[in-house]
Symmetry: none
Subunit: 93 residues, 5 copies
């Protein structure tokens, strides 16, 4: 079990845990936001335009947090500088 | 138990745990959103069009978080660059 | 206990845990959605058409999350690329 | 304790744990759905037809999640490709 | 402690744990459903026919989840393919 293997293992596990853990709070937060938006729509249908516009902006902001986790996962898998260094080092040797 | 095996094991376990863990929050969030949508529909049937449209956009946003987890799982199984490197290395040797 | 065995063990355990863990949240979310749908139907029987249609779309979205877990489980059992590689390697040797 | 035995042990334990774990949430979800259905029936007996139809569709959706777990358990017991491979390997040797 | 013994031990323990774990949630779910049925019957005795019919169908659905666990337990005890293989192997030797 040399350095290459250890770095690969860590990258794989961290990539999975990052998006798995990072999906919990955004999903719960979006569920809550959508839920309240629908209650508000039922209570005040005349404000539908404002409510849905505010909801969509809010959802986009919450979604962006989940996307940050996805981006870090993807970077760890496809553009990992530690892995690239180790590979270049191992090939050059 | 050489590097190939260890990386394969980590990829398998991480792929399963990622989607298993990543399914919890989106499912609960969607359950909550659908649940409130139905309460709102019962309370204000005239706003059904706006409510269902808002619900579907919200569900799509929450679903996308679950899909991020599925994508990372699938990448770890079918397009794992670490695995590909180890395989290429083992075959080339 | 060679590599083939270890990979087989991990695949079996991960496949089971993935669907076992992934079934919890969707089932609870669907239970909540159906439960609210029935309350809404009792409260507003005239909106039955809209309520059931919205419910079924919502259930399908939640069900799809459980199906993602099933798909990953099935892939780990029947289309596992790591297992296929190890088998091909062992047979070719 | 050779590979055949280890794989058999893992398959047995995972099959049991999968259905044991996978039965928790669907049963609770169905209990909740049936419970609300009965409250709704008592509250609005005229909508009995719509309520029971919606309930049965909902129960079928939740039941299907439990069936996914059963299917994975059964596959691990009766159609386990890892076990089949090990058996074929041991017999062929 | 040879393979035959280990597989027998695992089958016995898993069979017990499966039905033990799998009985928790269905029992709670059915308890909740029956409990609500009785409240509803007291509240609306005229709808007794519909309520009891709905209750029985619901109970049958929840019961079926417990039966899945029982089936897996029974298979592990009486139709265990892993045990059959080991026995055939040991006898043939």
């Amino acid at each position: 079990m040399n350095s290459t293997t250890v770095i690969a293992i860590c990258s794989i596990i961290t990539a999975g845990v990052t998006i798995g853990l990072g999906s919990i709070a955004p999903a719960l937060g979006e569920g809550r936001a959508v839920s309240t938006a629908l209650t508000s729509l039922a209570q005040q249908p005349d404000a539908a335009k404002t409510i849905t516009r505010t909801l969509f902006v809010g959802l986009a902001m919450i979604e962006s947090i989940a996307i940050y986790c996805l981006v870090v996962s993807m970077i760890l898998i496809f553009a990992n500088p530690f892995w690239n260094h180790v590979i270049a080092h191992a090939t050059g040797k």
